[in-house]
C-alpha cells in the first residue's frame, strides 16, 4: 500500500506542550535551570561569589573574621555569623526600596540558619563573619541560590566549613511540580481548587547528608512535602559539580600548589 507522502506524520510518541516550561525545561523532572557560578569578583572582600541561574542573578561577599560589634556571652567561645540579604530596587518587576523590609530580614534569617550549621564557628572565637548577599535580578528561587552563593563565597574566603551548603526550591502546583521555579512560576497558581499548592526551599549539606534549612508555605499534604524534600535534595546534587568546579578554579587562582615538602 503506497503511503501518503503529502501528509506530515507526527512523531510516534508525543507529550503535551504544558509539560514543558517556557524555557524548555520539563515539569515533574529534576530539571534545574542552567547555572553559572564564579568566585572572587570583588577583590576588596575576603571572599565573594556570583551566581546566575536562568535570569536570577545574585552576588555575595564575605568579610571577616573581625571583631564583634555586639557582645554577649555566647561570642566568647564561638564566632558569630551575620547575614544580610538585600534586593536591589530594580531586581523585581516592581521597584523596591533600598530600605530593608521585613521580607528581606526574613530571608537574611533563613540564610543565616541555613549556613550556620556548616561553618566551623568554634574556630573563630570572639569574632564575627559577615555575609552580604545582593540580589541583582529576581527571577525566582532567590533564597535557594543565595544559600549556594553564600556558601561558595565563604569557601572562597577560606572560612573553615564542614561542608558546602546548596539550595534548591520547588513549586508544587496540584499534582505536578516545577524545580527551580522562575518568578512567574513562583507566584502563579493555575489550578485554584487543588489541594497541593505551595513552595518549598531546602538547604542541604551534600557530603554530610544533612538538611540545614527548610521552609515551605502554601498547602501541602505530608506525602507531597516529603516527596518535595527528596526532589530538592536531588536538585542540590545536580548543582554540586558546578559549584565544586567553580571552587577548584578559585583555589587554583588564589595560589599555586605549594612546593612538595
Amino acid at each position: 500500500m503506497p503511503t501518503d507522502t503529502k501528509r506530515v506524520r507526527g512523531p510516534e510518541v508525543s507529550q503535551s506542550p504544558s509539560l514543558f516550561l517556557p524555557d524548555g525545561r520539563q515539569r515533574d523532572q529534576v530539571d534545574v535551570r542552567p547555572v553559572f557560578v564564579r568566585c572572587g569578583l570583588v577583590s576588596q572582600a575576603k571572599g565573594s561569589a556570583y551566581i546566575e541561574a536562568g535570569n536570577t542573578k545574585l552576588m555575595c561577599c564575605v568579610y571577616g573574621p573581625k571583631e564583634t560589634e555586639r557582645k554577649d556571652e555566647t561570642d566568647m567561645k564561638c564566632g558569630r555569623l551575620t547575614t544580610d540579604m538585600r534586593f536591589a530596587p530594580f531586581s523585581c518587576p516592581e521597584r523596591g526600596s533600598w530600605i530593608q523590609g521585613s521580607q528581606d530580614k526574613d530571608f537574611s534569617l533563613m540564610l543565616q540558619e541555613s549556613l550556620q550549621p556548616a561553618v566551623c564557628l568554634h574556630k573563630y572565637p570572639r569574632s564575627q563573619i559577615e555575609v552580604n548577599v545582593m540580589v541583582l535580578e529576581n527571577s525566582g528561587s532567590v533564597l535557594a541560590h543565595a544559600v549556594t552563593c553564600a556558601s561558595l563565597a565563604l569557601a572562597d574566603a577560606g572560612i573553615e566549613m564542614y561542608d558546602l551548603v546548596l539550595g534548591c526550591s520547588i513549586r508544587q502546583d496540584g499534582a505536578s511540580y516545577v524545580v527551580d521555579p522562575t518568578y512567574t512560576e513562583q507566584n502563579s497558581c493555575s489550578s485554584v481548587s487543588s489541594e497541593n499548592q505551595g513552595g518549598l526551599t531546602v538547604a542541604f549539606l551534600p557530603s554530610l547528608n544533612q538538611i540545614s534549612g527548610l521552609q515551605s508555605d502554601g498547602e501541602m499534604t505530608e506525602e507531597t512535602l516529603t516527596a518535595g524534600v527528596r526532589t530538592c535534595i536531588e536538585g542540590c546534587y545536580k548543582l554540586y559539580p558546578v559549584v565544586q568546579q567553580a571552587l577548584t578554579k578559585a583555589v587554583r587562582r588564589a595560589a599555586l600548589p605549594p612546593p612538595e615538602s
Partner: protein
C-alpha cells in the same frame, strides 16, 4: 530569644530522660503541657484570646478595620500580623531587644496563613476593589517559657473564632456613589469559619528523638527544631527549620509525620473547648 543556661550535667539528665520517653516534668515526648484558653478577654477588640501553656502566656487581640483590598486580589480582605515581645516577658526584650524575634514570629505567621483555605478571605470583602475588612492580629507575649510558636498559633485560632465583625450594608446614594452603613444591632455580626485555621507544632530535636512543646531547658539541649503548621485535615501549610543546627533528611520526615499526627489531634479538643466556652458565655 529568651534562653536559659543549662549545665552539662543537666543536659545529660534531660537527654537520657527523653531517650526513655520520660521528660523532666513527667510528660511523654509528644505531650503538651497544661493549657488554658480564655476568649473575649479585651473588650475593645473585635476578638481576643489569652492562652497559657506551662508558664508561657500569650495575648492576642484582633481588630477589624475597613481598608482597601490589595490590587492583585480585589475580591479578598487580608490579615496583618504583628508580634510584640514585651519587656514584661523577659528583660532581654527591653528596648529593641525583642524586635528580631518579633519580626521572625510575624513573618512565619504570614507564611502560615499564606494559602487560600486557612481563612475565607473572600468573606472579608465588602465591595470588590474598593472596600474590605482588614484583620489586624496583634500578638503580645506576656511570658516566655518555650514553645512560643504553638502558643501563638492556638491563641490566634481562638481569637479568630471569637472575632465578631459587624455586618455592613452597601447602599448607593443619588449620585451613584456608594455608602457603607454599619448595622445598628451590635449583635448582628459576622463570624469567621476557623475550621481550617492551622495550628503550629514545634518539634525540638533532642538527641536522637524529638519532643513536642519543649520547655526552655529542653530547648537549650536541642540544636534545631522544626515548626510545622497543620490544619485539622492534616494538610501542612508551613514548615520551617529554626535554630543553628542541621537535621538528617530521615529525621525531618519522621518529624513531619509526628507533627502532622500531633497537630491533627490538637484541633478537635480545641474546637470543642471554644464552642463550650462560647455557649457558656451566651
Amino acid at each position: 530569644m529568651a534562653t536559659v543556661q543549662v549545665s552539662e550535667a543537666e543536659k545529660v539528665y534531660i537527654l537520657h530522660g527523653i531517650r526513655d520517653d520520660l521528660r523532666v516534668d513527667g510528660r511523654g515526648c509528644e505531650d503538651y503541657r497544661h493549657m488554658e484558653i480564655e476568649t473575649d478577654v479585651v473588650s475593645n477588640t473585635d476578638g481576643s484570646a489569652k492562652i497559657t501553656l506551662g508558664h508561657t502566656a500569650v495575648l492576642v487581640g484582633i481588630k477589624a478595620e475597613i481598608g482597601k483590598p490589595r490590587p492583585m486580589v480585589p475580591d479578598e480582605g487580608y490579615l496583618e500580623f504583628f508580634v510584640d515581645c514585651s519587656a514584661n516577658a523577659t528583660p532581654e526584650f527591653e528596648g529593641r531587644g525583642g524586635e528580631e524575634l518579633g519580626t521572625e514570629l510575624s513573618n512565619t505567621l504570614y507564611k502560615v496563613f499564606n494559602n487560600k483555605r486557612s481563612v475565607d478571605l473572600k468573606s472579608l470583602c465588602i465591595s470588590e476593589g474598593e472596600h474590605c475588612w482588614v484583620l489586624y492580629v496583634d500578638v503580645l507575649l506576656l511570658q516566655c517559657d518555650g514553645n512560643l510558636y504553638d502558643a501563638i498559633s492556638i491563641a490566634i485560632k481562638a481569637a479568630l473564632f471569637n472575632t465578631k465583625i459587624p455586618r455592613v450594608q452597601i447602599s448607593a446614594d443619588d449620585e451613584g456613589g456608594k455608602e457603607i452603613e454599619l448595622s445598628d444591632d451590635p449583635y448582628d455580626c459576622m463570624r469567621l469559619n476557623v475550621e481550617n485555621v492551622p495550628c503550629i507544632v514545634t518539634l525540638c530535636k533532642v538527641g536522637h528523638r524529638h519532643v513536642v512543646d519543649a520547655t526552655l531547658q529542653e530547648k537549650a539541649c536541642s540544636v534545631a527544631s522544626l515548626i510545622i503548621s497543620v490544619t485539622h485535615k492534616g494538610t501542612v501549610t508551613c514548615t520551617r527549620k529554626v535554630g543553628g543546627g542541621s537535621l538528617d533528611p530521615e529525621s525531618i520526615f519522621e518529624m513531619t509525620e509526628a507533627g502532622k499526627r500531633v497537630g491533627k489531634a490538637l484541633h478537635t479538643p480545641l474546637m470543642k473547648l471554644l464552642q463550650e466556652e462560647e455557649s457558656r458565655g451566651a
